[in-house]
């Protein structure tokens, strides 16, 4: 009885919600028990989405990282909402499955709300998509999509920052090596070696790490530094 599904476009995530009519009464007024399935091969991101859902009062959340046998899993889980990342190459397969009522017992495959183009755009930009079972009210699903979008964006930002930090570390390593080469070949101090490279970088309008990299490469080519 899936009426909608949220799909993601980044790494890999799918999550689905279920609404089988048995609307459990929650302490929180805003959430009835929606069954949500998150499909994402990226376990970290899936966990971030899951945490967000739980914080919002959705306790019936299932994470799936591997789409093999997903048809059976969806039939078992019977989600109301499915969230999936847009990078997943199996989106066509999943959408087809949602459309075959015999596979999932109830048709899904309506994007959260066609008329809400801003939401759709935000979701695709963030790399996430959602499917919802038929008949779910948009007010119930919209917060889930919005949460998924913001968590996807936060995840991308984190991943970007991590990548930047990693490359900064790489840069530092190559700069240290270049300094060592200069100290050895010119018999100068570390401070002097660093100043020399910085001057070269400024004169050539290049990054310090680029200067260092060419130094290391050149030294390697000339056999000065293994």
């Amino acid at each position: 009885m899936i009426r909608g599904l949220l799909l993601c476009h980044g790494r890999h995530c799918i999550f689905a919600l279920h609404n089988d009519g048995r609307r459990a009464k929650k302490k929180s007024m805003k959430t009835a028990a929606l069954r949500v399935l998150v499909i994402d091969e990226n376990r970290i991101r899936a966990s971030i989405i899951e945490a967000g859902l739980r914080e919002a009062g959705h306790e019936d959340v299932t994470l799936v990282h591997d789409v093999s046998g997903i048809g059976r899993r969806i039939a078992e889980i019977n989600p109301d909402v499915i969230v999936i990342d847009l990078e997943n190459p199996n989106r066509d397969m999943l959408e087809n499955m949602f459309q075959l009522s015999r596979a999932v017992k109830r048709p899904i495959a309506m994007f959260v709300d066609r008329s809400d183009s801003a939401s759709i755009e935000a979701a695709v930009d963030a790399g996430v998509s959602a499917y919802v079972v038929d008949g779910l009210k948009r007010e119930r699903v919209k917060p889930i999509l919005d949460m998924a979008v913001s968590r996807f964006n936060a995840f991308s930002r984190l991943a970007r920052e991590l990548e930047e930090a990693r490359s900064e570390l790489e840069d530092r390593k190559v700069i240290d090596r270049a300094k060592g080469i200069l100290m050895k070949s010119r018999g100068i101090s570390e401070t002097e070696a660093y100043a020399l490279m910085r001057k070269a970088a400024m004169n050539q309008n290049r990054k310090l790490s680029e200067i260092a990299q060419s130094l290391v490469t050149a030294a390697g080519l000339l056999g000065d530094d293994a």
Binding site: N88, P89, R91, D92, M93, E95, F111
Partner: protein, 411 residues
């Protein structure tokens, strides 16, 4: 290089028939029309559709039935999409696992790709498996709204195999087909190149028949354009169609095939060896490690009005959507399908070039047994042969009759 007047982003999937778009960019045809053409590779047709809908792409390499499905509301999300141009004819094949081919050969499958003989052998295998309570064969296609799905089903049904009851048809992305065949997850698949050739070269399967023999000179991929963008940017769209027209001419020239194969093999495009691209371009198809078959019109990038968006093609796809229960037939739905393909936009763009422009917007599909000169504006034009392997005819003026007749056959 002249200053770009238009910026256009196009999505595509890693398939050989994205070649027209790729050549338009890589060989400078887009730049010559003042277009800065950005090509973005995608991982699923759903992404192509979604990113077109939200404006990341203005146009895209699309399965020919997809824009029709979008406009009919059969997809979760869709912009109103128009088809101002096709991206060639043919290009697909049906590849089966070595084990299935072994069984089919035992039932008389011929190695000449004949849809009839191969299909009858397949029917015998299907029947034998049913008698021994073996699980039904599992066949992969790339999308429910694809030429692959419809031509596979057309072929199976015409050979007496019910595509819904006698076999299981599943959806899988094209780059995964060969591995799925090798691992035994699939018994066969219908997909575009180079993925059939890949399965053969990796030793996972054998090409059993081809689209060009099931329905010769039949439509496969199209250029889908965001209708609103196209309307507001008619000049940019026309310039793009001219660029693709020149690219199609370049792709069709055998002397350019080696270079094109090299371009397509780049990581940003198909990202597989150039040797995988050549069979589709030359028509010398390696159907098995020890078997080479020459296929006429395997993939037609330009000749026979291969880029013309025939309304009869749109309506045939629509008839198959009805046949397989994807949409209810109504006059309104048929009109949506017909209006999705826009030969008027094609003519407007290409007329100044003196290109061969068909005089009609639709034709009776399957009616030409031999190459036939037809009425055209601009350069002269020869169409066909274009037959369905079972001798079927599709007259777009008798859509109701065709739909009624196939209902009886489909069972």
């Amino acid at each position: 290089m002249s200053e770009a007047r238009f910026e256009i982003s196009a999505g595509f999937l890693p398939l050989l028939d994205s070649a027209l778009l790729v050549a338009a960019r890589e060989k400078g045809f887009a730049a010559a029309e003042g277009i800065e053409l950005t090509l973005l590779r995608e991982t699923s047709w759903a992404n192509i559709r979604d990113r077109l809908a939200v404006g990341h792409f203005q146009v895209a390499h699309m399965l020919a039935p997809m824009p029709i499905a979008c406009n009919l509301g059969l997809t979760p999300l869709a912009a109103n999409t128009v088809v101002p141009m096709a991206l060639g004819l043919g290009g697909n094949a049906v590849t089966v696992s070595n084990a299935l081919w072994h069984d089919m050969a035992g039932h008389g499958a011929s190695d000449d790709l004949s849809p009839r003989a191969v299909g009858e052998a397949l029917r015998a295998v299907v029947a034998a498996r049913a008698r021994s309570n073996a699980s039904p064969l599992r066949l992969g296609v790339v999308h429910p709204h694809s030429g692959h799905n419809y031509e596979l089903r057309y072929w199976l049904a015409a050979c007496g195999i019910d595509p819904d009851r006698d076999v299981e048809i599943v959806i899988l992305p094209p780059p995964l087909m060969a591995d799925a065949l090798g691992s035994g997850a699939l018994d066969g698949f219908c997909a575009g190149e180079p993925w059939n050739t890949a399965a053969v070269l990796l030793g996972h399967g054998r090409i059993a028949t081809v689209k060009a023999k099931i329905w010769r000179s039949s439509p496969e991929k199209v250029l889908g354009a965001d209708a609103r963008w196209g309307e507001a940017n008619a000049e940019a769209l026309s310039a793009l169609l001219r660029a693709i027209h020149h690219a199609a001419q370049w792709c069709a020239e055998p002397a350019n095939h080696a270079e094109l194969a090299g371009i397509m093999s780049a990581p940003a495009y198909v990202g597989r060896p150039a040797g995988w691209m050549l069979p589709a371009l030359s028509g010398h198809l390696g159907t098995a490690v020890d078997s080479l078959v020459d296929v006429d019109d395997f993939f037609v990038p330009q000749a026979k009005a291969a880029t013309f968006p025939w309304k009869s093609h749109a309506l045939w796809f629509y008839s198959q959507m009805v046949r397989w229960g994807q949409v209810e037939h109504s006059a309104a739905n048929a009109a949506i399908a017909r209006d999705t393909y826009r030969p008027d936009l094609y003519r407007t763009a290409l007329k100044p070039l003196g290109a061969a422009l068909p005089g009609a917007n639709a034709k009776v599909e399957g009616a030409l047994p031999v190459p036939t000169p037809v009425g055209s504006a601009g350069a002269s034009l020869v169409l066909g042969p274009d037959g369905f392997f079972d001798g079927g005819l599709f007259d777009p003026d008798d859509l109701d009759g065709y739909i009624a007749a196939q209902r009886n056959v489909a069972g």
